[in-house]
Amino acid sequence: MILDGKCPTGPIETSWDRHRFETKLVNPSNKRKYKILVVGTGLAGGAAAATLGELGYNVHAFCYQDSARRAHSIAAQGGINAAKNYPNDGDSIYRLFYDTIKGGDFRAREGDVWRLAQVSNNIIDQCVAQGVPFARDYAGYLDNRSFGGAQVSRTFYARGLTGQQLLLGAYSALSRQVKAQTVKLHVRREMLDLVVVDGVARGITCRNLITGEIESHWGDAVILATGGYVNVFYLSTNAMGCSVTAAWKAAKKGAYFANPCYTQIHPTCIPQSGEHQSKLTLMSESLRNDGRCWVPKKKEDCEKPAGQIAEDDRDYYLERKYPSFGNLAPRDIASRAAKEQCDDERGVGPGKRGVYLDFEDSIKRLSEDTIRERYGNLFEMYEMITAENGYKQPMRIYPAPHYAMGGLWVDYNCMSNVPGAFVLGEANFSVHGANRLGASALMQGLADGYFVIPYTIGGYLTTVKPGQVKDDHAEFKKSKEDVQAEISKMISINGKKTPAELHRELGKVMWNNVGMARSKESLTEALKLIPKIRDEFWNNLKVSGSGAEFNQQLENAGRLADFLEFGELLAKDALHREESCGGHFRTEHQYDDGEAKRDDENFCYAAAWEFKGAGKEPELHKEPLKFDNVHLAVRSYK
């Protein structure tokens, strides 16, 4: 089937304004009759729940953490982009739009990206009004820094804690609505099913993580803002609880999953120190503004302390390969370049899987104090984990899974192909194409939550009668029974392997075969191995305790069960996409100099997969991508 994203036609500059005007409105006095469920309280979910509450809808918000303030958006460090052009360096909505399309390697939908760039400026104003303490210059104006993939300074920041501050802004707005009783919060709840009645999303089934009770919640619309899925690699920069579960349950109920193979491997993470490791820690790529990436030119120098390697014996590989963007080349390019150096046996640190990020020159030029003011918390974090002082010796970094560009397929209104099920933020596939630029995730989360969904959901709600299907419907009962049955099954296996052991096995298969570089051979291998781990999971899993209590092992097992199905789809998507683009690099498809080789003739589409059963062949639906406002070009950062 050919999918239609339902983008407005006509001039792109006015497309969102026209669409907003043409979208039907819900009468103010009718809004409270509509019940909207929002799953996830990160930037997208928190902002959406707060704004829909303000508008007068009856909102119920859900999160698995103990408070809405803890979603993983909080860990974003570097900043948020906006086309304000405050520094007068030539930025504009068009430039932000163009950079995002190009950064995504021409695999995103133009209309959605334009809208994102357009509302980016409103986000900054909104956050300032909430009291977000963005960095200011001495004159009292908002300060900007530059980020990968852009030649203008358009990134707003709050020390190295921008995600925290923006999330707390959204959380404050949400708290105000909780007090006003327009939003009801359900914390420590995990969504375990989407309830679909006659093809329309009507609610969710979730587990109360404290009592283990399985609950039904009905809603006239369901918004999934449940984040990304890179914990499929086991080790990633995501929080431990981040999973594909909510999105995958929706996929199993008919929502198409788009471009799962577009995963972002972030270049500046702290390298792994051993097998015991449970997660990888990212350091903001803003470090690349002042840090220079290098490895020794000679293999025999790799064991030496960095200080003993002469300037002439250092290979500043990003500056060498990409003279105009240098250390600020986009993430996928910087990550792959680091991997190349290590594959060439010129890596440093344990297992030689690391490259240097060196601040010596910047400290000489600007002083240690200036560097401390800019990145102090990152240096502290680095020292806490590695026991090394980044001011005195270069940091060691290595790429790690960080972000999912793929996600549930949505149209221009952020609605999935299942009417009534909307998907926001990282959980959808819409704006980042095959690669996300730095400081654009915060922008998308808040754009979707504050400025897109509050308008587009109205258009849908005008087509449904409020409260038409409630939780006394048979589908809710059936969903509850299915969820309960799966939990009982996991507990009854009583095998030998814990969820962590099996997750580590899956992670290794994914990282080695479906990681930074993929080939037909490696992907075929992954597709052979994943079902084996899945079989072992269902025959040899060990989960202690019962379903009717606070049981973190059971939570992990449930999330892993979904990763074991989803991982296969990710590998299938990667195998089918016979080209390299953005974060998806197929070794068969590269230019002589190792750059990614796109195939616009055959793959200029979003691949949306329809679930047909575990272990069964999913069905591919294509949404062709049209570029009327940018010229399809080879992405070059040289």
Partner: protein, 246 residues
């Protein structure tokens, strides 16, 4: 390294609890404290026993979910460090470690080391915001804010809401937490309009939830993983007095 752990085990909010002893026999100095506990739990699960429940999520010191009292000190006593960022190289072979949950009346225990910190959310709901609607706000640069004010607000805003301040306070006071939000908004022009209402509402709520008052022990600042300064409590008191004046 080999360690002996004494861990608080409690089935539920109203069940009796006690310290149980476990051995951690393969501890690497590069492990984080929580990774050490992960391994203890793996062993417990394999032995058919109930693993230790503890809250955690981001494991990079920012979500505020992890919450353990280690050897009597919330987060373990390393300066500006959450439990998840505490590494085992800070301990030595043969150490005995006591691990307990947050202790404060307003934070009831859910299970073992996991507590309910909903009370902090209630304090924010009482007034920890500016009441601006989405849209309809002025340009970000319309109001200039001095760098000092922005930095000062940011110093307070770094609070991660973990609850260590109340857990470390002999009065179980939530004053450091409350003062961080009140101060952040009080030093910014955006927060002025509602300043009086905010501070009284948040303090009234904290009192109603069962948090005590501040009697200047400063344990909270010492325990705070973000190093939030007790000067903000002074600011809070000043804001409160201002609010009481006509």
């Amino acid at each position: 390294m080999k360690l002996k752990l004494h861990v608080w085990r409690q089935k539920g909010p109203n069940a009796p609890g006690k310290l149980e002893t476990y051995e951690a026999n393969h501890v690497s100095p590069d492990q984080s404290f929580l990774e050490m506990l992960d391994e203890v739990n793996e062993d417990l699960v394999k032995a058919g026993k109930d693993p230790i429940a503890f809250d955690h999520d981001c494991r990079e010191g920012i979500c505020g979910m992890c919450s353990q009292v280690i050897n009597g000190v919330p987060h373990g006593g390393q300066v500006r460090t959450t439990v998840c960022q505490l590494h085992m190289r800070k301990f030595k072979d043969g150490d005995e470690i006591f691990i307990e949950p947050w202790k404060a009346r307003a934070f009831p225990i859910i299970k073992d080391l996991a507590v309910d910190r909903g009370a902090y959310d209630r304090i924010i709901e009482a007034g920890g915001y500016t009441s601006c609607r989405t849209g309809g706000v002025p340009d970000g640069n319309a109001v200039m804010i001095s760098k000092e004010a922005a930095d000062n607000a940011m110093d307070a805003a770094e609070c991660i809401g973990c609850g260590a301040c109340a857990a470390s306070c002999p009065n179980s006071s939530a004053m450091l937490f409350t003062s961080a939000k009140v101060s952040q908004l009080a030093v910014l022009p955006q927060g002025q309009v509602e300043a009086k209402r905010r501070v009284t509402a948040m303090l009234d709520e904290a009192k109603a939830l069962g948090f005590g008052n501040c009697t200047n022990h400063y344990e909270c600042q010492a325990a705070c993983p973000k190093g939030i300064d007790v000067k903000f409590i002074a600011k809070l008191n000043r804001e409160y007095i201002k609010a009481l004046l006509p």
